[in-house]
Symmetry: C2
Subunit: 172 residues, 2 copies
């Protein structure tokens, strides 16, 4: 669909289709609908990014806390969102050997205890070795650095989800 088709969507369809471009935060998609018409997909993405940037720091942490752990309980129980499932499966999170799985679980726990939000990374841009390496390294950062870094990753995930939904969606 092109941006004109996106701009023509009633809010219910807009949120149905694009409501999970930021994981479990349909409020963000629903909010930027107020800013139609968008000149381009990049303009829609920029509106989402600006909305996120204008949130208080607690709101940014709130976004991070809506994200599942990588290779965590939601992957194991089959309760990931469709988008997260595809991303985690694509980066090998569903096929860790037992050593990798226990290392990932330990580091995820350490990260959450240290920062109060989960490790977020754009899984589609990394393989499992790289994700483990980054998780290990990022556990050493300061909290404010990690909050900002997590939000950068949220925006990368959002970019790829938007591209995927708008450029390939055939519901319109």
């Amino acid at each position: 669909m092109d941006i004109a088709a996106v701009n023509a969507l009633p809010y219910e369809d807009f949120v149905d289709i694009l409501g999970n471009v930021v994981e479990k935060c349909p409020i963000i998609t629903a909010a930027v609908w107020s800013g139609r018409p968008f000149l381009s997909l990049a303009a829609l993405e920029a509106a989402i990014s600006e909305f996120i940037d204008a949130l208080p720091e607690s709101g940014k942490e709130g976004i991070l806390r809506c994200h599942p752990d990588l290779a965590g309980r939601d992957l194991q129980s089959g309760s990931l969102t469709r988008e997260s499932h595809e991303e985690q499966a694509g980066s090998g999170m569903g096929a860790l050997n037992s050593g990798e799985a226990s290392l990932m679980a330990r580091l995820n726990q350490e990260y959450k205890e240290r920062f109060g939000f989960p490790f977020v990374i754009c899984a589609r841009m990394h393989d499992k070795e790289n994700i483990l390496r980054q998780l290990f390294a990022r556990c050493q950062n300061e909290r404010a650095v990690e909050r900002a870094r997590g939000i950068e990753e949220v925006k990368k995930i959002c970019h790829l989800r938007l591209q995927s939904l708008v450029l390939t969606d055939n519901r319109l």
Copy 2:
């Protein structure tokens, strides 16, 4: 559970239990977790309210757009959240006669076309006749008045959901 038990929850449990006190907006619950410890349930409710009030107007509209229509497609398809289902059923939304159902559908549509967000009312505080009367009356308001009015109703819904979850939840 008492407020000490609420304050002791890791963010994942906090969001699992309280994430839908504002309909489909777990980011809000997840954000206020940063403000623990809360002195009382009222203090937690106040933190949620302050977070909402600090959002830009588009964000408030975003919250409203995450709400289902009363007696709308999500009720009919069985895809309401548990909380919404209980509230709509309790106020008789699942038992409208055909005249009431078509009036409700027509007024909901008129409201959405006029304002760009759905009619939100704390259903637990009203019966179906009262809801229809208020929907009819509120269709006549100005957009800014309705946005503020809808957010007031969101806060009433949140108050009752919090009371229900914290005072009766036995997962702790």
